[in-house]
């Protein structure tokens, strides 16, 4: 059975008999996919762009999030007249499975009517992309003009190109890597341990017991948030500035502005994110190793794709450093793929991909326009506003 629902925060595709086989061998029978679309699919169905969100993202990259009223997480990039121009492209964004913004995840109801909790199967980046394939099938989109995303979204982009290359015309992996590094797994483990150590986690059954591991999840977010920034950006924004005081308290209150900022980040995150989802999605990222799926040679992952790639990294990103992008580019070159690679100068760390970075925008506009020409899609009307 298939159902479409118009929910308050975008659309829902509900599949009663989805039979989605996951990498760990288990099968998801009931599958709910929360998604949002922007723009219009053309008659040739050749102008669809899939946006893949990062660890804590959702299916609202553009416009206001109907539930929170806050601007979409990529509002500067996606919208009418923006680099991913919804006047020209049909843009699709889906909440990943395992997530907590409407798609099936550990907080969803299992067959017996209670939340899955830890009974939810451990999912992978490959599983997330399989679910996106299901959505595209239902939306009758044969292939994607472009698949784009940053961080974990970039992992999905690479997975798309490697496992479903015939459906990808162009791919833009941003601030990402073909595998999660040891250091990245280490940071995720710190976050997970903070959640597991919270007595309110209750073995994952906190929802049934009407509580939530708020402190654990907040600490996980605080630790992770540091990895999204850079030392230079922290120093520039906060330095050693004191928070609401003139002198040190000689105690453990938030003396420094950076402490107060991190506490705020942690507390506000708890209101919008599910702790179990955090465990599952970080695990999916840790398990990601594209070369390993192809006999240890990354170039082999891209042997059967004719997609054109635009790889983007940022100078101050130490979570997904440029060296990871360079390894990826070398593999793509070895596979004979059509690849562009740009390293953007920025002191904003990993989060730069979410922020206003004019050079990234110019890169993506140029790459998409060239791909549009190759795909036979019309270019935008020439206006007097063409820059430089």
């Amino acid at each position: 059975m298939v159902g479409h629902e118009n929910s308050a925060d975008g659309e829902r595709l509900v599949l009663e008999n989805a039979q989605l086989t996951l990498d760990n061998g288990s099968v998801l029978d009931t599958l709910t996919l929360a998604y949002r679309t922007y723009g219009t699919l053309n008659d040739d169905k050749s102008n669809a762009i899939l946006i893949c969100h990062a660890l804590t993202g959702d299916h609202h990259p553009s416009g206001a999030n109907p539930l929170t009223g806050r601007a979409g997480w990529w509002d500067n990039m996606v919208g009418p007249g923006k680099p991913i121009d919804t006047n020209r492209y049909f843009v699709v964004c889906q909440n990943v499975i395992g997530g907590c913004a409407g798609s099936t995840g550990p907080s969803s109801q299992s067959a017996d009517g209670t939340p899955y909790g830890l009974d939810f199967p451990v999912i992978t980046i490959g599983d997330m992309v399989r679910a996106q394939n299901v959505l595209l099938d239902r939306l009758k989109i044969p292939d994607l003009f472009c698949v784009i995303g940053g961080s974990m979204g970039g992992m999905q982009v690479l997975q798309w190109a490697a496992a479903h290359g015939e459906r990808v015309f162009s791919a833009i992996p941003i601030a990402t890597a073909a595998r999660h590094s040891s250091q990245n797994i280490a940071f995720h483990e710190v976050g997970r341990q903070a959640i597991l150590a919270d007595p309110d986690w209750r073995g994952g059954n906190y929802a049934a017991e009407n509580t939530a591991p708020r402190k654990g999840l907040a600490v996980a977010r605080m630790a992770a948030h540091i990895t999204y920034l850079s030392e230079a950006a922290l120093q520039r924004k906060f330095g050693r500035t004191l928070q609401d005081r003139d002198r040190l308290s000689y105690g453990f209150e938030a003396d420094f502005q950076i402490e107060s900022y991190l506490r705020h980040q942690g507390i506000s995150f708890v209101d919008r994110f599910d702790a179990n989802s955090y465990l599952y999605i970080t695990r999916a990222m840790d398990y990601f190793d594209l070369a390993d799926d192809f006999g240890g040679t990354l170039a082999d992952a891209f042997a059967n794709t004719s997609a054109r790639f635009c790889v983007v990294s940022f100078t101050s990103d130490w979570l997904f450093p440029t060296s990871e992008s360079i390894s990826l580019v070398r593999a793509l070159n070895a596979a004979g793929a059509n690849v562009s690679f740009v390293e953007i100068e920025s002191d904003k760390g990993h989060d730069a991909f979410l922020l206003d970075e004019p050079e990234m925008e110019q890169t993506i506009i140029g790459f998409l326009n060239a791909a549009a020409v190759a795909r036979g899609l019309p270019l935008p009307e020439v206006s007097g506003a063409h820059d430089d």
Binding site: F341, E343, T363, G366
Partner: protein, 212 residues
């Protein structure tokens, strides 16, 4: 975009001739790698005029970003270290447009080039030109010409050579000069085979078509 004083590339007018000559040697619809593609001017010309599948490698971030925002498939990288990641015979034609003299190991770069492609186009400012010889001989100063416009301490051109020097190195690497195009006072001269001492004296700029 690219600072002309510190760039390996020469003056714009000189470069245009250089690019037109290179384009004249590239066959239609082929796969081309431009090593040191700058801001993509040559690649854009080759795509428009020769309908090639062009890929580029460029060291400077500004150059790469300019290329990609022009829709060209360009990767940031270093000719001295990154060519080894390209597959054997992956390209029909490999181009070094005024790039060789800016590399740290020109011999190794040529070796890699000969592994990656089957036909090669190399252009250099000719250090054997009489004006350069004269400047050094009479003034005792490092020459600054239209093609070599940066001061000795700012120039990216760290391995300058004359067209005969390059021919000797090609001999050593079993690469032979098929076509030799030289530019003197904006005029183009065409020859085949090894260049002469006279050409080496008169040419400001040279474009070699090489084969294995």
């Amino acid at each position: 975009m690219i600072d002309p004083r510190t760039s390996a590339k020469g003056n714009l007018n000189e470069k245009r001739i250089d690019l037109m000559l290179i384009a004249s040697l590239v066959e239609r619809g082929t796969r081309v790698l431009d090593i040191g593609c700058g801001n993509g001017e040559l690649m854009e010309l080759l795509v428009a005029e020769r309908d090639v599948d062009a890929r580029g490698l460029e060291l400077s971030q500004q150059g790469v970003n300019a290329c990609v925002s022009r829709g060209l498939a360009v990767v940031q990288g270093n000719a001295d270290t990154d060519l080894s990641y390209y597959p054997d015979q992956g390209f029909d034609t490999v181009i070094l447009s005024q790039t060789l003299q800016a590399t740290r190991r020109p011999k190794e770069v040529l070796q890699e080039m000969s592994r990656i492609g089957s036909k090669f186009i190399v252009s250099i400012p000719n250090f054997g030109h009489w004006r350069i010889r004269l400047a050094l001989a009479l003034r005792g100063r490092m020459p600054e010409t239209q093609a070599l416009s940066a001061t000795w301490y700012e120039t990216a051109n760290i391995h300058l050579c004359s067209m005969l020097d390059l021919t000797d190195l090609c001999d050593e690497l079993s690469l032979s000069v098929k076509t030799c195009l030289t530019v003197t006072n904006g005029k183009v001269h065409h020859s085949t085979g090894r260049p002469s001492a006279w050409q080496n004296l008169m040419a400001e700029l040279v474009v070699f078509e090489l084969t294995r």
